[in-house]
Amino acid sequence: MTVSATSTSPRRNKRPRRRAKGVGQHAPSWPVIALFVLPAFLLYTVFMVWPLAQSFYFSLFEFKGLARGAFAGLRNFHELFTRYPLNKELPRAFLHNVYFFIGTMLVQNTLGLLFAKLLYTSRFGKRFLQTVYILPYLISALVVGYLWSLILNPLFGPINQFLRMVGLRAWALPWLGDPATALPAIILVNAWQWVGFPMLLFSAGLTNIPDDLREAARIDGATGWQLFRRIEMPLLLPVIGIVTVLTFIGNFNAFGLIWAMGGPNGEPGGATDVLGLVFYRTAFRGGVDAFGVASALAVLMFVFIFGVSMIMLRYFRHMEEELT
């Protein structure tokens, strides 16, 4: 993936906040503390936090190329929804991100949970299978995208060749060339790459459930399904919450995979266009005032992604509390 702040987010919730004995005594003097902390603080602030904060400020200004001009109020935001073709592309890209998220939840995360559950009870080859499932996570989204666009090639791709060979000529579709199948194909390819991640998280969650609970349920005559539905699922809620939020953040930041499979314009005909591509095009392939308009878009995306993640986290915490 990208610089995956996207894939590493709110796991800190579960880290125990305990301090070992002896910690906290003899805090060193201020200059020593400063020497330890300052390098990281400066690097992180100057190249990460400060630019992010500046986006909000810049969104309110006019730009001419790289030069910042006069205060523009909300004009840049207004442009986003009125200037052609942005006013057409933006809502369409947003919808595609929503489909992408829903599709990923249904396919990738459901499969991840299924594999975790099946691997938890099976012994044979467990470690090997887990390793195989997370293998594609390592590969660059761009490489995955190019690899699958070759595999899905309508003429020479092995998938269509195989379909023709077994007599399913009618099924040998131009997968990435048809607006109806392009986005679903990308959702499946993305799931192929990432399914190991929810699987790992769900596996860790299942391991954390004490076996006494399962034993007790079994003695009470619970079937396998009841055990899963009534005992394991509710206890997995925190993990489900984390997986949902990380999927959301990841999907709304999608870029490389779609660039490789649909190009910078989300071909065919914008059928795979997403917010990440629209943002890139607005900033670096837009007009002379591109930087102001792109900053406005960055602010809206930031508020939306961050806001919805927070709401989701709160919602899942609320559900947990109701269950306990």
Binding site: T2, Q25, V143, A204, G256, F284
Partner: protein, 283 residues
């Protein structure tokens, strides 16, 4: 329960067991087949691939690798990627280890707020800051510069590194450093000689876990690097796929060259990767 129903239950359990294994190993094939296909097709000429897409490379040849490496600039891209990624990982890990040590082990005014400030970076969709970042780097003369990209990458690695390392430093017993202090060791000696070696497993996780996304990143070099002589593998890949469109064998070889270092890391550090992916979830 009588005998016949027990045995039918056992038979049913056996069938469901079989189905589970078919499903799990079947999906493993879905993961592995495309990867094997890449290797297979990189080892035979494009003519063969087009004529018999599903055939094996009977007389394997590395000609396509040589072609991608020399003619398609993969040698340049590869060493740029290596230099930029390794520098950024080293820089981020070094500064994060320093900061995590005092943040994990001492309480001082604002220490918790500072830790929270670093950890907030885990939640930030950082690419959205590209416009101000571009202007900042332009101001510093660091557009189209590998150093600029290294600084940006190092900054993005800090939140995760501090998250992991500060938790590890916190869990170390206090007696060791107390004893050293009584013996007259100063803070730097305690950090470098005693504490740092003790968090080595965490350092491995942090290094591996920064390396992978930086090696794979496409967005920042796309925006921040102009000259092809400075490009990293992912940006080079976009040009490569345009130029060599009809030369599938070379395309497949390029995909392998780009991924090879990650495969090596994966084989050496599967444990660290799993630890990083599940950080915070437990066992």
């Amino acid at each position: 329960m009588n005998l016949s129903s027990t045995s039918s239950l056992r038979a049913r359990a056996k069938i469901s067991d079989l189905l589970v294994h078919v499903l799990l190993w079947g999906y493993a094939a879905v993961v592995l087949l495309p990867l094997l296909l890449v290797v297979n097709n990189a080892l035979r000429p494009t003519r063969d691939i087009f004529r018999h897409p599903l055939a094996l490379a009977t007389s394997p040849s590395f000609a396509s690798f040589v072609k991608a490496w020399e003619k398609a600039n993969f040698n340049t891209y590869f060493f740029n990627s290596l230099f930029i990624t390794v520098s950024a990982v080293v820089l981020a890990t070094a500064v994060s280890a320093l900061a995590s040590y005092v943040l994990g082990r001492y309480k001082f005014p604002f220490s918790n707020a500072l830790l929270a400030f670093f950890l907030a970076g885990l939640m930030l969709p950082f690419r959205l800051a590209i416009v101000p970042l571009f202007l900042l780097l332009d101001h510093l003369g660091l557009i189209d510069s590998r150093i600029g990209l290294i600084l940006v990458y190092a900054a993005t690695g800090i939140p995760f590194s501090v998250f992991i390392l500060s938790a590890f430093f916190r869990q170390l017993p206090g007696e060791l450093s107390e004893a050293a202090r009584i013996d007259g060791a100063n803070e730097w000696t305690i950090f470098g000689r005693i504490m740092l070696p003790l968090v080595r497993p965490a350092l491995a996780t942090v290094v591996v876990f920064q390396f992978v996304p930086l090696w794979n990143d496409f967005f920042f070099p796309l925006v921040l690097l102009r000259s092809t002589s400075k490009w990293t593998l992912p940006v080079g890949m976009t040009r490569f796929f345009g130029e060599f469109q009809a030369d599938w064998s070379t395309l497949f070889a390029g995909l392998i060259i780009t991924t090879l270092p990650l495969i090596v890391i994966f084989l050496l550090a599967t444990k660290q990767i799993i630890a990083g992916l599940t950080a915070g979830i437990g066992k």
